[in-house]
Subunit: 610 residues, 2 copies
């Protein structure tokens, strides 16, 4: 048997000579990428052999690797058999390309400025002439006598100092000594950025030294068994502390699953993760921290807290260094959470001089306006239309969802994954309504034309699709024969009304914010669409429905998962985090629910533009 | 059935009319003092009836209570039967007399200046025009926006604020919001002072507002099952984290027993105790906090920490408000602990201008010298002689221990509790040696005179008592017929050698400290004897043995349990606590173990003065 050691995981396994490195990795439970089943064709199972390299590169290796890489010891794990004891280093995907793609726009420009610091030291050993106690000895050498130190760290300090004969690495946050590790561990320092969505949890593991994203993973928010929307979860939590604890446990468990996946992907140990930054809507923030969300649901929608929270990982049971810190960015109001704060960071809305509007559309539409040096937010109850709920054939953006629609002689559909149509998602709904409006199938009032009375101008195949259904007129987008469900996929008059309510609310929100600072649509220099929805929406369709301010399309830019980007920025940069902490003081939140002008704008905005 | 309510415990119980109040209290589990079994003779079961008082005072009551007290509703619980629903207030022993007796000397002069503050507030209720989150609303009204607030407090804040319609009491330490309580609870604020001895744990419950001691209790330190001295406990703890945790658990459980007793005695609820200050020797301090003490035992005797520690009660599992704070005063060195720091506080040695020497004699003798504006400490391994160990018939100061000895024609004994002699305790040992020296039974060298050769001058009854034993000569202090054990109680040549080693070490310690600041015995203005031993010792005897510096007896003062007093002072006064925190920086600790001059002084000091 020969020993194979996988770095940086330090996992060891004994295998028969002749076993290939990909098999050895699988036996050791070490994840190595690859999707050709060991045939050598995908070129993904790159590893670096530090010791025990034998033989010449295979044809596959010559194809997948450069001469320089081959010279450095890079191989394809599936192409190399174990001959001797072997030491293998796994590849961490931390190159510049990954970082750029993970942090779009402004975020990519952030210089790492971690709030965690590692200092390697060799302490003078105690003697009868220098009896300074262990803790004070350490603080003296660190020249930081006022550093806060938690009890569990002091409790085990004597053993840790003596493990490598007073050679240690101190892990520090600004004011606190987080950990003391035997030997020199300065090369390894990781953090987590979490975007806690009502539906989806997204986690990124980052190298705090380089600012690189080393792995990403996502999971469904398992709180969904208590209801898919925030109101049902608040209602459940309000029934008692037990329920609240159950909701917290669910999300923490799922986050721990994500962390396990991230650690495996990147070869990072739990104790090497010293910090996490999380963002989410205000309800998710409460539930993550186990804080009573009861008063978020009824007016006046009062959160329990607003400011950023910072707690020890151990207190939450998050799978990272137990002394590590978890930072939840501040929220703004009951329906404007730290995810919106993160959008502001990612889009640098707190530092721009133009008039900029950002919108994150989900169940609620959260709007941010930066104008005249002011920063305003509001939240509109857009309703769940864009997420497929309340829409007869509505569905989330998944395989088979109609995501784009053309209407000319007939209806032409584009579905996610090019699968047979199963339903219609948010971007498909907007696209369909815009196309139907353009084709004259629906009127600016949102009403279907009566095919018998007013349909004489419509192409016949289109006209045939319009019929009377249980909610008035409806149009068949996909007939049962073509659909994945065996039933017609339709868009109904009621669906259009839902869409009108949603887009009217968002547009009216825009208008109120603009009025609040005394500018008009024409004064807006740019509109940023945050979130997945903003990425997939057809800007032209949204403009033609009056969902967005009436501006040239080039002024409207999707910015991707800006909330997640903001969390990452706040993780790797102390100064970005400081900006986040200061935002609640600066932001003017506009409560729309009782404003007369909002009601008027809303009613005006229900119709589609002519 | 009638309802009886006991204040301030708010305990209620339903009893048959005719039940007396003492029985009702027993049924309710409410402690009321009294030791005559309800006969009305001891006069101790005083309670105040606030509601439901019927009938006239009994003869016993007229005897035990003044007219004014009777008029106020004071009764003897055993003399009053329940007629109607009754409300009873229990007596808390918080009068000025108690306070004075508990805080001796300097301590009695301390003005309460608690670090805990209670502020009653009525918050404006949230509305759609004032959506300020709960936490920020509270901090805004407190005008302390930067106050630290722990997660569990935020988690339940919404419910607490609304329980009494936004009327609350905030409990604050200097930098932290410790608790928020519904309604106005400003009248109730308690703290604990603990003296954690190797042998005995002593706790005092104090009213933080008045500075009064409201109850005291003590218990044996149950760590004694792992050894009676610090070295055996260190050795046990050093064998693994499990053992260390067991030692911590033991002391915390015993402290919780003390707290339960204190709460019952004083009618105080767990959540009303917001702070604890503890002192102990350096080993006890480590074990109380669960900190690795391994390196205290071998040279160079390095503690894990020196500075004051402050942790949440919940973290230690101490039975007080879980958000309350536990403060352990700083230690000075491996064998000079926070108990010595507390002695310095109680004797105000950090503020006096005379040359003052304090000594706390136990297994170790801890010495403090204040002179020329300097503050020095050292620790001498006095050995366990004064606590009865290593002495053939040695015992702790308990009933039957010989505590004073006169030697003239014969030996005359005084025992604790006037019981038949069982053994000899520390003060008895000193007294016996001094008396035997004076009577010529022992020589200044510590050697017994040979009764056959040199005993001709001795009275015959005395001479008869001297005999040859297994350790050379010995003297019978109490014959088997008189003793409680049925065996002779003797003092042996070996016992005297132990005493000489102990007193020699202490005296040599004095000398080194004096030399360190360049003064002589004659320059010492006062000597303070701290601890129980100091209270019971015969100063004349100690002087005649050379245990204390050669000064007039009036310069030598016992100051009682100064360590406990210092802990109480630091509990009730923030500025005293600050003084304690600053002491390690100021104190010069002198390590005697390797000093040549200590060895010389020690050898010189072994003989008794002529």
């Amino acid at each position: 048997m020969k020993k194979v050691t996988f770095l940086p995981l330090r996992k060891e396994i004994a295998v028969q000579p002749g076993t290939n490195l990909l098999q050895a990795a699988a036996l050791a439970g070490v994840p190595v990428e690859g999707n050709c089943g060991g045939k050598g064709t995908c070129g993904k199972c790159r590893v670096k052999v530090l010791q025990g390299l034998h033989g010449e590169p295979s044809t596959s290796e010559r194809k997948a690797l450069t001469e320089a890489e081959l010279a450095e010891g890079w191989v394809l794990a599936c192409q190399r058999e174990v001959v001797d004891d072997t030491v293998v280093e796994l590849q961490l995907s931390s190159d510049a390309h990954d970082r750029k793609s993970a942090l779009a726009g402004a975020a990519a420009k952030i210089e790492p400025e971690p709030s965690i610091e590692k200092i390697a030291l060799k302490l003078p050993r105690p003697s009868i002439d220098d009896q300074t106690p262990d803790l004070e000895r350490l603080l003296r050498e660190l020249q930081r006598p006022a550093l806060k130190v938690n009890l569990p760290l002091i409790a085990d300090l004597p053993g840790i100092l003596r493990q490598e004969r007073f050679k240690i690495t101190a892990v520090l946050s600004e004011k606190q000594l987080l950990a003391v590790e035997p030997g020199d561990t300065t090369a390894r320092m990781f953090g987590l950025a979490f975007d806690i969505g009502t539906t989806t949890l997204m986690g990124s593991l980052m190298d705090l030294r380089s600012g690189a994203v080393v792995a990403v993973a996502a999971a469904t928010n398992p709180q969904n068994i208590y209801g898919s929307d925030v109101i049902s979860r608040i209602t459940y939590a309000a029934r008692g502390a037990e329920n609240r604890a159950a909701l917290q446990r669910k999300v923490i468990e799922a986050m721990n699953g994500i962390i396990r996946e991230l650690m495996q992907k990147a070869g990072v140990a739990q104790n090497e993760i010293y910090e996490a930054v999380a963002v989410g809507n205000t309800t998710m923030s409460h539930l993550f921290m186990g804080i009573d969300p009861t008063n978020l649901a009824p007016a006046p929608f009062v959160p329990a807290f607003q400011k950023a929270l910072e707690v020890e990982a151990a207190q939450l049971g998050l799978s990272m260094n137990p002394s590590g810190r978890v930072v939840l960015l501040p929220n703004i109001a009951g329906y404007v959470g730290s995810d919106t704060v993160a959008v502001i960071l990612a889009a640098e809305m707190d530092r721009r001089s133009d008039n900029c509007l950002a919108v994150d559309i989900g169940t609620n539409g959260e709007l941010v306006l930066a104008a005249k040096g002011r920063l305003l937010t509001c939240s509109t109850a857009a309703g769940p239309a864009f997420e497929g709920a309340q829409i007869r054939c509505g569905m989330r953006a998944a395989d088979g969802a109609i995501e784009a629609v053309q209407v000319e002689d007939d209806v032409k559909l584009q579905t996610i994954g090019e699968a047979a149509p199963r339903g219609i998602c948010g971007s498909g709904l907007i696209d369909a309504a815009a196309a139907l409006l353009r084709a004259g199938v629906i009127e600016p009032s949102g009403r279907f034309v009566n095919p018998e009375k007013e349909g004489h101008k419509l192409p016949s195949r289109l006209k045939e699709r319009i019929r009377r259904g249980q909610d008035g007129f409806e149009i068949v987008l996909a007939y049962a024969e073509q659909s994945a469900t065996g039933k017609d996929v339709v868009l109904t008059q009621a669906d259009l009304r839902e869409l009108q309510l949603a887009k009217g609310a968002i547009y009216a929100g825009f208008k109120v914010l603009l009025r609040q600072v005394g500018i008009t649509e024409a004064d807006v220099d740019s509109v940023l669409l945050a979130g997945a929805f903003g990425n997939y929406i057809s800007v032209e369709s949204a403009l033609s429905l009056g969902l967005l301010p009436d501006l040239p399309p080039e002024k409207i830019t999707p910015i991707g998962n800006a909330a997640g980007d903001g969390a990452k920025m706040a993780l790797i940069s102390r100064s970005v985090r400081e900006r986040a902490f200061a935002l609640p003081e600066r932001i003017e939140h506009v409560e729309l629910s009782t404003r007369q002008d909002f009601q008027e704008e809303f009613i005006n905005a229900l119709a589609f533009p002519k």
